[in-house]
Symmetry: C2
Subunit: 340 residues, 2 copies
Amino acid sequence: MTKKTIYDIAKDLNLAPSTISKVINHKGNVSDATRKRVLDYVKETGYVPTSSARMLKSGRSYSIGVVFTEELNIGLEHAFFSSLLQHFKTYAERQGYELSFIVSQLGNHKMSYYEWCLNKKVDGVYIVVGAYDDKGILDLAKRDIPVVSNDILLDGIKTFISNNEQGINIALDFFFNEAKLKRVGMISGPLSSRAFKMRHDAFYKYFDIKGLTVNPNHIVESKSFGFTSGYQAMEQMIKNQKELPEGIIVGSDDIAIGVLRCLYDNNIKVPEEVQLIGFDDIHSARLLTPSLSTIRQDTVKLGEAAAASLIKMIEDPTFEVPQLVELPVNLILRETTKKY
Amino acid sequence: MTKKTIYDIAKDLNLAPSTISKVINHKGNVSDATRKRVLDYVKETGYVPTSSARMLKSGRSYSIGVVFTEELNIGLEHAFFSSLLQHFKTYAERQGYELSFIVSQLGNHKMSYYEWCLNKKVDGVYIVVGAYDDKGILDLAKRDIPVVSNDILLDGIKTFISNNEQGINIALDFFFNEAKLKRVGMISGPLSSRAFKMRHDAFYKYFDIKGLTVNPNHIVESKSFGFTSGYQAMEQMIKNQKELPEGIIVGSDDIAIGVLRCLYDNNIKVPEEVQLIGFDDIHSARLLTPSLSTIRQDTVKLGEAAAASLIKMIEDPTFEVPQLVELPVNLILRETTKKY
DNA sequence: TTGTATGCGTTATCAC
DNA sequence: GTGATAACGCATACAA
């Protein structure tokens, strides 16, 4: 099967190519009769315009470039970001947009993110995960192409993230007001990551406002994003002193899973001796034993908000999107915290 | 910034557009001097050919369409398939190919998978997960476009999957020969899925060959793919009789996690009373407590083999790929089995 | 070795 | 309301 063109259609229908084009694009004046003839023919034969020709002519592509920086090679296996991408994708596709991963090599041409965008004529860019030292992203942010992100905070990029401070606050409120704990600590993620930094700072701010003092032995920074570094961070906290915190907030669920295992291996009962609250609510959080209490980020809303705004920006360049949108989170109480 | 064309370059350099094109595509005869002039200019200005024009002219796109059927809406959050996609993607990108999710609507045009492929002029198709009742996939398989899959078995699609029978065999060998168990059962996934059916059949075949008899009370089919259905399947097996199997093979890790929890809730010790072997080795299998023994599928090799073959098929249409390639699996012993 | 001309399938601007 | 016709940016056969 070789592809039909509007020329073929025009010939078959005894019309001019331009008329076909008008019908397909709902433009110009065409009589109802011919319109129907064309539409019927199109439906019957399943004709679809060739996008490359259309792109070439119109400069639009109905496609969105996706930047998914592969931190530590976890890439799409990283549950939280996969989920974000999943929901962004679903929303965008419903609006008729297609997603393409941005790559830095096409055929045998090397190129920057921005060049790639120019080249593929993508309408906008979605950064799921990005590194702050990624030159390509810095460059992209300065250009006039619409860019949204669920991760990175940068001038020129519209960011949709969770309200990290609120999350930490409700978790601490739980520990102090509900659970009436005295000793509360934190195992944060690597502070080079903005989100972890925000959670870490929110923790200190809360203590500050409430007039509490942070016990430095109860604060450990996990060196990386995963299980192993979480395990090590907890080991370190155990070594730090004899008196552990009664409650620990962990920077992310991924890290919390390592923390949980370390506690188990050291025969420290959760939640009886130590209560744990993670962050994210990744899929496996509820599957663990004990299942993980955590601060849930709404990946559906996060992904959809990013998608909706990007599409608006694309379709109406005058549309103003705030630089930063913070969505509320909520506390999910499971088995790593006690019932009150 | 408006995009430069080979025309602009030609003008700036006092050359003909075609000369520029030749240099860029490493074709035809160009003097070293002019080649260098052009190359330098290109490097300096960061010129990149417009892909739509190039596609329109050459009919190639250096891109691969991805079908990722969203079973039960888990989509990219499904750890096993995400992992497959991840590795396929990495390999394909290294070869200069780009991945695009196949959608059924572009702008305001509805279309079939195949029409989409024609439209986007993708060079080939990769089906990560597909449903057998998906008309679009059935249609695609009949066309002359190269299609590979890591899931679905269909004429016209080259499939790369794990050797399910081998997996079941080594697991059963472990239970019978190493662990010397007498009672071994299975909680299979939904048999409507080909892979689960293969694992289920391999189980029976093994018993048959060894002259063993299957205790029907020790076989349960999980109704779905996830935690909850695994939990329910195990509950049912417990209700079935007083004497549980000493060893259970579970159709997938996802299901096994539910099984594990059910055992925990019923105060049945793993691995002391019941030993468990899952299938897949998803990322979280090793993070559980107890960590899950499982039959590991090599998602790296699986994804890469599919990518490598697809690209070969694209670049050399005469290249013959076997209809089905089965890759070896291996048994990962963790904490849901005893040490021997 | 280099330049010219043509066409890929559309869309858009005009005449008719 | 409809139909020529010229771009869009590139690749390629062919002429110079």
